[in-house]
Symmetry: C2
Subunit: 221 residues, 2 copies
Amino acid sequence: MISQTEENYLKALWNLTSSKGEASVNELSKQLDIKMPTVNSMMKRLAEKGLVHYESYKPLKLTDKGKRLAALIIRKHRLTEMYLVEKMGFGWEEVHDIAEQIEHIQSPAFFEKMDELLGFPKVDPHGSPIPDRNGKVETEQYIRYIKLSDCKEGDTVTFMAVSHSSDELLKFLNSRDLSLGSKIKVKSIEPFDESMTVSYAGRKAEMLSNKVCDKLLVRPA
Amino acid sequence: MISQTEENYLKALWNLTSSKGEASVNELSKQLDIKMPTVNSMMKRLAEKGLVHYESYKPLKLTDKGKRLAALIIRKHRLTEMYLVEKMGFGWEEVHDIAEQIEHIQSPAFFEKMDELLGFPKVDPHGSPIPDRNGKVETEQYIRYIKLSDCKEGDTVTFMAVSHSSDELLKFLNSRDLSLGSKIKVKSIEPFDESMTVSYAGRKAEMLSNKVCDKLLVRPA
DNA sequence: GTAATATGTTAGACTGATCTAACAAAATTA
DNA sequence: TAATTTTGTTAGATCAGTCTAACATATTAC
Ligand SMILES: [Mn+2]
Ligand SMILES: [Mn+2]
Ligand SMILES: [Mn+2]
Ligand SMILES: [Mn+2]
């Protein structure tokens, strides 16, 4: 069996390795705020269990089994976030911490029921894809999204997802009425700090810093 | 802070002490299926934390603080059971094991939301009272309930709650269409084994063993 | 009232999950 | 290349939560 602690390591590693396919002990240590020696010995344990490829001084990788298991935990996390927003009336900025706990509930029936009641959603409230029952994740469209910060003046795009969303960013977006699906037009880009002035439903000219634009994933028109 | 493990001990002790006000290490050990020395040392820890009155060779009692805390966990458990049945469509026999896990979620907002969406229910799906936000439990009516097995021939009663319900008992009741609120009339009692023949909505003559009748709490007409 | 049984406690071991201190290897800088 | 810094590993400690074995006290049976 796999403990709640082990699940959190797996999930963190899954997130870190999603781009390059591998991650360092150091990165994982920072991500989890757990000291390197602790992470190191946990990696050996997960290697014993066939979930991680571990070799001294080499980068960490998930095995196929580890990837699948991690994706199934992510699935529970994202289904939960969607359920909390859609069925319980929470705001998208309130659900991550609750989902962080509920993702560890052991009850297939519970998550199947959520999935059903939600009508088998494909994405969570932040636009991240929900892995399927087998741990497969639909990256097709998702990987085609680009950062708003990479757009040019005059571009018109659709706001599709928030990457690595903090409560603060989500609250900021709330305050500007900027939500998933919004059509955003880039009116101008300030050369000095790359801040953007954009317009969208109900907002003629809203200024967004580069730090914000860097977190908004959009689909070109 | 209090761990999930500690919460389970508190809750078990709360259940055991609900009648006599005290319980033995041995009883608690059996209840939790954890060996006596383990229970013993945990009781000392909880005493340190001001949650249990512990004295060598004396029966265990909860402190007021311990009672309140236990009741708040029970509150989360019972609200969850009610939510799963009323809002997610689970059967009353399916919800205990899920609630056993969800009761440990740390998020006041989550349980407040459940409570609201349910319209502030007073009892769980098995008829047990839900403690209020302060850990006070409404025993007024509940303690007046009697066992069906203590009724006499000719009595007419209302089925109000199931005590210490196992999945098996609940499934049995499902199979007989016997649910909370049913008006039950005791038609006859077999002197040999005290089994009862009863009638209720849609059932003319249903035989219930003494073991079953002992678990059904009813309100006299 | 003693013997037998049941219950409770102490001691000591083990595993999981964490840490710090010290050392080793790899990467970076000079 | 040599020195310095960063990253990774090993060793050993600690705490929570569990166990078994041994001993102590209380309860029950005779
Ligand atoms: Mn999240
Ligand atoms: Mn988590
Ligand atoms: Mn229950
Ligand atoms: Mn529990």
